[in-house]
């Protein structure tokens, strides 16, 4: 079985990447598996300056999923480069930095800080966070802005692959993927969380201090598959599939509709070794899908009737 995948200038030993915000900086999971075995790690969203994030409560469990409104709490890009990156096994596994900023110019500055870091394999541009009031999804819902941000990051990335993470909270995901491609993106990743809400009838309060938050987990997998399917038809650049993946079978479903790799997010909360278990289980799931390599399965969905 060949688990290797190559796309957008990245060579990954398998298609399983941990998703931003669900795997810390990777170091938090070293007790639960050998993080060098992961195809890649997308670290917690980074901003130019440290951010305290949103008030509590920030998370709520929902059927087959969860809502979060963390608000990109992070120590800032410089602390990441200084304190976290040197501890990560970046020679063995792809460390992908996730970027958050509130203006096109700030995205450029942030990219500039990371562009020269040998340990960073690629940049994932977050134009889709639903939990911050400036930037984030405000960019992700406007194809013109997606293209501008992508162009700016690409310009400052010194050749590092640029992945644009797209929001599903749009009318036409294909249009957004196309905007990223037009801006020079090397790949797109999708989907970020769906905007959602939960309330408590006893207290008559929202369950999140931010009132609304991002829905993730198995509940959103059908939406995610549909989005990846539509994006795959709209663009030629590689796609990283994200949304509700908890098993090797789930991962292969995204490959089947056209993804080059996948990100595993909320499943890391089911149990902290879940991403490693998915990798262990991939060969068995590939037997089921009757493929010897990931490449052989990619984009082979048969929609004929």
């Amino acid at each position: 079985m060949d688990l290797r995948v190559e796309f957008a200038g990245l060579v990954l030993k398998n298609p399983i990447i941990t998703a931003s915000g669900t795997f810390g900086f990777g170091l938090e999971f070293m007790n639960f598996g050998d993080i060098k075995r992961l195809g890649g790690i997308v670290v917690k969203g980074l901003s130019l300056k440290p951010r305290e994030g949103n008030p509590m409560p920030r998370i709520a469990e929902t059927p087959c999923g969860m809502l979060n409104a963390i608000g990109i709490q992070n120590p800032g890009v410089e602390a990441f480069v200084r304190d976290k990156l040197p501890l990560l096994p970046w020679r063995e596994t792809a460390i992908i930095a996730n970027l958050y900023a509130s203006s096109v110019q700030e995205f450029g500055e942030l990219t500039g800080v990371l562009a020269g870091e040998e340990g960073v394999a690629a940049l994932e541009v977050n134009v889709s966070c639903p939990n911050v009031h400036t930037g984030g999804a405000a960019f992700g819902q406007d194809p013109t802005q997606i293209r501008k941000v992508t162009e700016q990051v690409k310009k400052c990335a010194a050749g590092k692959p640029v992945i644009v993470k797209l929001s599903p909270n749009v009318t036409d995901i294909g249009l957004c993927a196309r905007a990223a491609q037009d801006g020079g993106a090397d790949a797109v990743s999708l989907i970020n969380t769906l905007l959602g809400m939960a309330v408590d009838i006893r207290t008559r309060r929202p369950r999140l201090a931010n009132v609304v938050g991002g829905l993730s987990g198995p509940a959103i997998k059908p939406v995610a598959l549909r989005c990846v399917h539509q994006a795959a038809k709209a663009v030629d650049i590689p796609i990283i599939g994200i949304g509700g993946i908890v098993s090797a079978e789930d991962a292969l479903e995204f490959i089947l509709v056209g993804a080059s790799a996948v990100e595993v997010g909320t499943a890391n909360f089911l149990r902290p070794d879940q991403s490693f278990r998915i990798i262990d289980d991939l060969p068995r799931a590939m037997l089921k899908a009757r493929c010897k390599s990931i490449d052989e399965l990619r984009g082979t969905l048969d929609v004929s009737r």
Binding site: F29, N68, I70
Partner: protein
């Protein structure tokens, strides 16, 4: 001082040995030995019954009540979907568990130490009392609303000086607060350890400040991961910065946390 425990943490699948025959909403859950006899009282674990499907997303953070070479015990109250389903487990059922997590309470020998427990906050003190090098220095003050029979109080009161105070109606609240404040005041030069609901902890924190008594507070929080990744369980530290209850706590020096 709050000391960190450095034991190896792994995900294990353990068999459920049995629960006590108490009131149905109060569950004492004993699992086969995970090798945690070196845990530090105050630490917690994440539990997820193997039979849970995908409809429940997170494990549940529970304070370790006691552990020895044969077993580990948790004590919890049914408060929602997860704990309801954990209460319905049968002997032999498997549970996915990761821990021990977080830090624990200080346990200085030969130091007058007052354990202040509010309701389910009694749980971690069971193991604390069992393991303390000089239990004759310990005093337990237990504030509760439901009947005393709902808690493993009797077994604990045999081992240390213990007293309880019950809040039957809201009118009893001033009496409970007075007992907490008195207990803190009487621990001058000693150590106060508290575990319970946030209003209870606030009372302890305030009293400790007023009387200049050293205190540690064990916080509870909703958690998704329990290992410091999701940032869903933060509280504010003394400098008003968000810190994770799971990774930096759950036990904090009273001065290091804003409630």
């Amino acid at each position: 001082m709050v000391v960190r425990n450095c034991r190896e943490v792994k995900v294990r699948e353990l068999r459920f040995l049995g629960a006590w025959d108490g009131p149905s909403d109060f569950v004492e859950l004993t699992l086969e030995n995970p090798g945690w006899d070196g845990y530090r009282p105050g630490q917690f674990a994440m539990l997820r019954p193997s039979g849970w499907g995908l409809d429940l997303t997170w494990g549940r953070p529970l304070s370790i009540s006691r552990a020895d070479a044969e077993s580990v015990t948790f004590f919890f109250q049914v408060v929602g979907r997860g704990t309801e389903r954990m209460a319905a487990l049968k002997a032999g059922d498997a549970i996915i568990i990761w821990g021990p997590l977080g830090n624990g309470f200080s346990a200085p020998p030969d130091t007058p130490t007052t354990l202040l427990a509010g309701g389910m906050g009694l749980a971690p003190f069971r193991g604390y009392i069992e393991r303390h090098p000089t239990p004759e220095f310990l005093r337990l003050v237990f504030a509760h609303r439901p009947d005393l029979d709902c808690y493993p109080y009797a077994a604990m009161s045999e081992k240390v000086r213990a007293e309880e105070v019950r809040e039957r109606t809201p009118d009893d609240l001033p009496v409970v607060i007075e007992r907490i404040e008195t207990a803190v005041r009487e621990t001058a030069n000693g150590l106060v350890l508290a575990c319970g609901p946030t209003p209870f902890l606030k009372t302890v924190q305030q009293a400790a400040r007023t009387h200049g008594v050293r205190a540690e507070l064990s916080l509870e929080s909703r958690m998704a991961c329990g290992v410091g990744a999701c940032l869903g369980c933060v509280c504010k530290d003394g400098g008003d910065k968000h810190v994770q209850v799971c990774a930096r706590g759950p036990v904090f020096k009273a001065d290091d946390v804003r409630l």
